[in-house]
């Protein structure tokens, strides 16, 4: 499939010369990209790279595609242009949010885009959300939820168009969490950059930090010591265990099934504490550093982690089994919030949300980098696309990640000392994908003549998946929203950046 592509092929976590990325006039580029996506490629990133600092400078659009079946990525770009271009969204739904972002970040207008609203622009003290999509009719009413939600949770706004209980349309308006991450990266890396990468989405610290470290290592042409890559994989799987366990508990809580809810709430903490065993911080802050790692995991510490991991996995298995045994839970999970496989493909969903629609899509398997080149966990897929499937994928991934961890903890590579990374290469483009617990984390860096970041693009899996939640709610009862929302459990700050 990728053999005939006019794009430049690129392996995950590698770099190439920016000047050698093939380019086309923008209209032609949009057409070619659309054709490649029709042939089965997937859009990992679609963003603008301004040619200079000044507002109004010409912009290039950059596309990063994934040919999952061929285990390769590909990049292409448009010639610099100003003004408008024919929208890719017209033929490819998965470009929808990317093109809204393009207009907002770079001022180029995707012509023919059906819903060209800001993504995260703030006017004075709130995001520019208006106007919302409205359904007219005598029986139709509107429900507005957020930005501040009822629990201890990040802010976002949900606008429902309902006829009685039935949701006709849900519009998700975010932007409340926008902290200016990408803007701050221009001219970087800066002294705060690594900390910012760790907090792009705080529950996905390891995945984002690993993607960043891999990008920097690809730009300096220096791989991290194997021992560090091993530790990153361990931390990434622990992050997955903690979040998946927490999600299953939260799902149980949302259908008032308290045994699993309370057990998983505690077990999630046990997994976080294992990450803290590695580095002191429950979210893995400071574990992943470009060039190597600060912390070591010697045999005795690994044995302690392994023992505690075993106990937590056994408890999790038991607590989750209660869920599957309870008819009351299955009745609430099954056929709720359905996303069909064809819809998931069209929207470009990633991670457990995609795998719960039966799509075989996992960066660790499709585009292995780092330690995953040597050790893999089987990909978990479940058909159905409903809340049940999303819960089921999580519980199976807990088993697989648990087994992976137990195996890898006992097989450390030889210790190597960290090396200070060389300065990033000038005029280069590097891409790194990491399968975080929510799905594909994508980082793309383009360096200028001095080796500083001219453009750094971050795509959190939530950016692909929020439209999936909106679609899952179509035709559903509004009272199912909390459950559906939890079954996706997407990041607000990862989206808002």
């Amino acid at each position: 499939m990728s053999a005939a592509t006019p794009f430049s092929l690129l392996a995950n976590a590698s770099s190439m010369s920016w000047a050698e990325v093939p380019e086309w006039p923008v209209a032609e580029f949009v057409r070619i990209t659309s054709a490649e996506l029709d042939r089965g490629a997937r859009l990992c990133a679609w963003f603008g790279a301004p040619e200079g600092e000044v507002a109004g400078t010409p912009v290039r659009i950059v596309a990063v595609l994934a040919y999952d079946a061929d285990n390769t990525l590909a990049v292409g770009r448009s010639a610099p242009f100003n003004g408008a271009y024919p929208a890719l969204t017209v033929t490819q739904l998965q470009a929808h949010l990317f093109e809204r972002e393009l207009l907002e970040q770079c001022g180029v207008t995707p012509e023919g885009h059906p819903w060209l609203k800001p993504v995260r622009r703030t006017t004075v003290d709130a995001p520019a959300n208006d106007p919302f999509f409205r359904v007219e009719g005598g029986e139709v009413h509107e429900v507005a939820v957020g930005p501040v939600h009822a629990g201890v949770i990040e802010p976002g706004h949900f606008r429902f168009q309902c006829a009685g209980e039935e949701v006709l349309h849900l519009e998700i308006a975010l932007g409340y969490q926008h902290r200016g991450v990408e803007r701050a990266l221009r001219g970087g890396p800066h002294r705060a950059t690594r900390s910012q990468m760790e907090t792009v989405a705080g529950d996905t610290t390891i995945a984002h930090a690993t993607a960043y470290a891999s990008v920097l290592e690809a730009l300096t042409d220096g791989e991290a010591p194997l021992r560090a890559q091993w530790l990153r994989a361990l931390a990434l799987e622990l992050e997955r265990l903690a979040n998946h366990t927490g999600d299953l508990g939260a799902l149980a809580n949302d259908v008032a099934f308290l045994p699993t809810a309370s057990a998983c709430g505690k077990l999630r903490g046990d997994f976080l504490n294992l990450t803290a065993e590695l580095c002191g911080n429950r979210f893995g802050r400071g574990i992943v550093r470009p060039g190597g790692d600060r912390y070591t995991l010697d045999a005795s510490r690994a044995a302690v982690v392994s023992k505690r991991l075993d106990a937590a996995l056994v408890d999790t298995e038991r607590a989750v089994a209660w869920l599957w045994d309870a008819a009351a839970v299955r009745a609430r999970f099954e056929r709720i919030g359905v996303v069909f496989a064809a819809q998931a493909t069209a929207l470009g969903l990633v991670g457990p949300a995609a795998r719960a629609c039966g799509l075989v899509r996992d960066v660790r398997y499709d585009h292995p980098a780092g330690w995953y080149r040597f050790a893999q966990a089987p990909v978990v897929v479940w058909p159905g696309g409903d809340v049940f499937a999303r819960a089921r994928v999580r519980s199976l991934e807990i088993q697989r990640s648990g087994a992976f961890l137990q195996e890898q903890l006992g097989a450390p590579p030889d210790p190597e000392s960290a090396r200070d990374p060389a300065p990033p290469a000038p005029g280069a483009l590097a891409v790194s994908l990491v399968e975080g617990w929510r799905g594909e984390v994508c980082h793309v860096a383009i360096t200028d003549a001095a080796g500083r970041f001219q453009r750094y693009k971050i795509v959190d899996p939530s950016f692909h998946n929020w439209p999936g939640l909106a679609l899952a709610m179509r035709g559903a009862a509004i009272s199912d929203f909390p459950l559906c929302n939890k079954s996706f459990n997407l990041s607000y700050c990862g989206f808002d950046l």
């Binding site: 501040v148 629990g151 705060a192 900390s195 760790e198 907090t199 709430g265 045994d325």
Partner: protein, 267 residues
Amino acid sequence: MFVTDTLLHRLKRGCETMQYPDGPAPPLPDRHGGTLRVDAAKCADGCRACLPVCPTEAITRTDGKPVALDLGRCLFCAACVDVCPEGAIAQTGDHRMAVRDRRDLVLGEPGHEQLRLAAALDGKLKKMFGRSLRLRQVSAGGCNACESDTNVLGTIGWDLGRFGVQFVASPRHADGLLITGPVTRGMELALRKTWEAVPDPKIVIAVGACAIAGGPFVGHAEAHDGAAAIVPVDLFIPGCPPHPLTILDGLLRLLDRLDERPVERPR
């Protein structure tokens, strides 16, 4: 049978809520490090080794003065501890970090080597909130780490409810706010409205480096450098994110629910 299995399992596990504060606090992970201590008297003349390694510029040194470390900005990465040639900055392993006065987070001056921990609410507020505190949580640019570790306090291990502290779903039902995140421009209006909707008298608790001083995003035009730019803050709990034990300690300290006496301010 599912029901009997569940009950038996629960029985076997017994009570999983920790003894603290009636018993000892659960230990921090050995690599956590806890709060920092700054013995600026040890600093060599003109030494600035720790300044460039701090990701948030939490350490400053003006000529002729000792080094000053702002724990409000600190991400506890310990890079400064690693580079200090004199051992002037040290990890203490102590989880207690909450303070009432923002200035108390700045360490370094003689007599200010360590944190002066928060004093309890006094008089009327203590009477009102000491045994029942309802909080509304507002995440205003938080990365979901502070939020997660605040949520943890509601799990069976910590059981925040036993202290009469609860997170509620409406500001109208709340006695105060618990704020996370640097307060993005996008959340400014929402935070202000939420604060105004909480009936007086009310308290505000800022959790995490972001809510205290902007955290990793300090100085960004897209965000304020912490909650105090928008609302008055009564309790600061540092960390990135603070360990749940640190958050709990802060809440209990404020409510005067810890037996130990608050550290006297030496002024």
